[in-house]
C-alpha cells in the first residue's frame, strides 16, 4: 500500500474511532434535526402552505419538505465540527504530526475531508431511517441516489469548514465564526422554506438564498432523494468545493497561509 493510502486509512480510522468514542456525538447530531422534524415541522405544518415545487409532483406535508434540508443540516454541522477538531488537532494533536509528514498537504486535507464526509453521511442515513419510521418515506432508488449527493455535499461543507479553520488562530474564535457562518447559511437556504416563499418576502433575500452553496447542496440532496439529478445544483456545489478547497489549501500552506503567521 502506498504511503498516501496508508495516510488516508489512518485518518479514516482515527475519525471513526473518535466518532465511536464519543457516543454522545451521534445522539447530539441526531437530536438537532429530530427536534426540527418532530416539533418545529409539526408546529408549522398548518402555517406554511406549500405549493408544488420541483422535484415534488404533488402537494406534500411540511415534514416531508424539511427532511432533505435537515439532512443538509447534519452535514453542515458535522462539517463544521470536524473542522473545529482540526483547529485543536493542529495545535496539539495528530494533525500537527501529519502536516509535517512528507506527504502532499492537499492529500492529507482531502483525506481528512473524506473521513469527515463519511461520518456525516452515516449520520444523515441514521436520520433518514428515523424519518422513515415516522412515515416520511422515499423509494429505495431515492435512498441510493442520495448517497453520492450527500457525500458530495458533505465534502463541500467540510471544505468550507476546513477553509474557515485555516484562518482561525485559536479554538475560541471558532465558536464565533460558527455563529456567523452556520446560522445565516442554514436560515438563508431552502432547507426550511422553498425559494418562492422567500421571494414573496424579499426578492433580494431570495437571490442570496439561491446563491448560497448550502441551498444548492440541499437541493442536490432533495432531487436525488426523488431520483432526479439537479445539474445546476451539482455544478454549483462542485464550484464551491473547488473554491473552498483551494482556499483551505492556500490557508494551510506554510509558505503563504495563516498557519505560518500563527507560528
Amino acid at each position: 500500500m502506498t504511503a498516501a493510502l496508508v495516510a488516508l486509512r489512518a485518518i479514516l480510522h482515527r475519525e471513526a474511532l473518535r466518532f465511536l468514542g464519543q457516543r454522545g456525538r451521534l445522539v447530539a447530531a441526531l437530536v438537532r434535526p429530530l427536534v426540527w422534524l418532530f416539533i418545529f415541522a409539526a408546529g408549522f405544518r398548518a402555517a406554511l402552505g406549500l405549493s408544488i415545487t420541483p422535484p415534488y409532483q404533488t402537494y406534500i406535508p411540511y415534514e416531508t419538505y424539511v427532511v432533505p434540508g435537515l439532512c443538509g443540516m447534519i452535514l453542515l454541522f458535522n462539517g463544521m465540527q470536524s473542522s473545529l477538531s482540526l483547529v485543536y488537532d493542529r495545535e496539539m494533536g495528530s494533525m500537527r504530526l501529519l502536516l509535517t509528514s512528507p506527504l502532499p498537504r492537499w492529500w492529507l486535507l482531502l483525506s481528512k475531508l473524506i473521513a469527515g464526509a463519511a461520518i456525516s453521511v452515516l449520520q444523515a442515513y441514521a436520520f433518514l431511517a428515523i424519518a422513515f419510521a415516522y412515515g416520511i418515506r422515499m423509494t429505495g432508488a431515492g435512498y441510493l441516489g442520495a448517497l453520492p449527493a450527500m457525500f458530495f455535499a458533505a465534502l463541500m461543507l467540510g471544505a468550507l469548514g476546513l477553509m474557515l479553520s485555516s484562518f482561525i488562530r485559536q479554538l475560541e474564535n471558532f465558536a464565533g465564526v460558527m455563529n456567523f457562518v452556520i446560522f445565516p447559511m442554514f436560515f438563508l437556504s431552502t432547507a426550511l422554506y422553498p425559494l418562492w416563499k422567500m421571494a414573496e418576502a424579499s426578492p433580494l433575500l431570495a437571490r442570496a438564498c439561491a446563491a448560497n452553496p448550502f441551498t444548492q447542496a440541499v437541493e442536490l440532496i432533495r432531487f436525488a432523494l426523488y431520483r432526479q439529478l439537479n445539474a445546476p445544483a451539482l455544478g454549483w456545489v462542485a464550484l464551491a468545493l473547488l473554491v473552498f478547497g483551494a482556499l483551505a489549501l492556500w490557508g494551510y500552506d506554510p509558505e503563504r497561509g495563516t498557519v505560518r503567521r500563527k507560528a
Binding site: A42, R45, A46, G49, S51, I52, Q57, T58, Y59, I60, P61
Partner: protein
C-alpha cells in the same frame, strides 16, 4: 398496405386513450386529462359555470350542467362541439343519468325542484317539488329510485321513478351535497358539508345505518367538509373529498372507519376513477388543479394544473 396499417394505428391510438374530463367553474371550460401521460391534452369551451358532468352510456355524448347559462349542454365527446341544450330549469348544478340512458334527472338549485328531461325528445317529462336548494343526485343501480338532497332543508328525498313521486324523506346533517348508492344498491350514502359527516342509509327501509365522521390532526373541524365521494368497484372502500381541509378520506365501507387521509390540492370537490380503477383524479377548486391518487398505495402521485376552479370530473375510456 403496411404504412396504411401503421398510419391507422397511429391515429387510432389517441382515440382509444382514456381521459378524465374536468369542468372548470370560473374558466367556462373543460380540461381533458390523458390518463396515460397525466397531462392536459385539450381545453374545450362550455357554457357559463360548468359544474356537473356525465357521459352517455356509449360515451359518445357528454352532458354538462352550465349553471349560470341555466342549461344542460349536450356535447359531442369526439369533437367537443356543443350539439344542443336541454331544457333544464334554472341553475342546474348536479344531475344523474338514469340507467335507461334516456332520462336525465337534474337538481335545480334556485327553483327547489328536480327536473326530469328526456334526452332524446329534449322535453321535460316531470318536475318534482323537493326541499330548498336541491343539489346531490343519485340513482339506484336498478333505476327504481332517484335521490335528491336539498342543502337547506337538510333532507334526502327518495323519488319513485315509475310515478315521479317522493315516497320518503330522510333527515341528514347540515348541507347535504352529494349522494351515491353503493354498488349493489343496498345502501345510500349522503355527504353533509357543514355537518361534516356522511350518513349511511339502508335502501330497503330508508333507515339510518350509521355515520362516517372525520378528524384530521392539525386541521380545524370547520374545514372538514365532505362533498363528493366514490366507491371502489369491490364496494369495500369509499374515497370522500373533504373540501377546504385539502384531504381525501379513505373510508372502510364496512366498518365506516377512516383508514387514511390523503393530502391533495386546496378545496377538493369531486373525483373520478381511471377505467381500470388504479388511479383516482380529484378536482381541487381553489388551487386549480387535479391530484392523481394511486389507489393501491393510497399515495398522491401527481398534481396537474387545469383551469380555474375545477369542480366536476368524469371518465371517458
Amino acid at each position: 398496405m403496411k404504412y396504411l396499417a401503421l398510419t391507422a394505428l397511429l391515429f387510432a391510438a389517441p382515440a382509444g386513450a382514456a381521459e378524465i374530463w374536468v369542468t372548470n367553474e370560473k374558466d367556462d371550460t373543460i380540461s381533458v386529462i390523458d390518463v396515460a401521460t397525466l397531462e392536459v391534452t385539450r381545453t374545450i369551451p362550455t357554457g357559463e359555470r360548468p359544474r356537473g358532468i356525465t357521459f352517455s352510456k356509449d360515451y359518445s355524448k357528454v352532458y354538462i350542467c352550465a349553471s349560470d347559462s341555466d342549461a344542460v349542454q349536450v356535447m359531442d365527446a369526439a369533437t367537443g362541439k356543443i350539439l344542443h341544450d336541454l331544457p333544464s330549469g334554472e341553475d342546474p348544478e348536479q344531475f344523474v343519468l338514469h340507467p335507461d340512458d334516456k332520462h336525465l334527472w337534474i337538481a335545480n338549485e334556485d327553483d327547489a325542484v328536480t327536473t326530469v328531461v328526456d334526452v332524446e325528445s329534449r322535453t321535460v317529462v316531470a318536475q318534482i317539488n323537493v326541499g330548498i336548494e336541491p343539489e346531490g343526485m343519485a340513482v339506484s343501480p336498478d333505476g327504481k329510485t332517484v335521490i335528491t338532497t336539498s342543502e337547506t332543508t337538510n333532507m334526502a328525498h327518495w323519488i319513485d321513478t315509475a310515478t315521479n313521486k317522493i315516497y320518503a324523506n330522510t333527515l341528514v346533517d347540515s348541507r347535504p351535497r352529494h349522494a351515491e348508492f353503493t354498488k349493489q344498491g343496498a345502501e345510500l350514502w349522503v355527504s353533509s358539508e357543514i355537518g361534516g359527516t356522511v350518513t349511511v342509509f339502508d335502501t330497503a327501509t330508508q333507515a339510518e345505518k350509521g355515520k362516517v365522521r372525520f378528524e384530521i390532526t392539525g386541521v380545524n373541524d370547520d374545514l372538514i367538509q365532505p362533498v363528493g365521494f366514490e366507491f371502489t368497484p369491490d364496494g369495500k372502500t369509499a374515497f370522500v373529498a373533504l373540501g377546504p381541509s385539502n384531504h381525501v378520506a379513505v373510508v372502510n365501507a364496512e366498518t365506516l372507519e377512516v383508514d387514511k387521509y390523503i393530502l391533495v390540492g386546496r378545496r377538493v370537490w369531486h373525483m373520478a376513477f381511471s377505467p381500470d380503477h388504479t388511479q383516482l383524479f380529484t378536482t381541487n377548486g381553489v388551487s386549480g388543479d387535479v391530484t392523481v391518487i394511486d389507489v393501491a398505495s393510497l399515495e398522491p402521485v401527481k398534481t396537474i394544473k387545469v383551469g380555474r376552479f375545477p369542480w366536476g370530473a368524469a371518465m371517458r375510456p
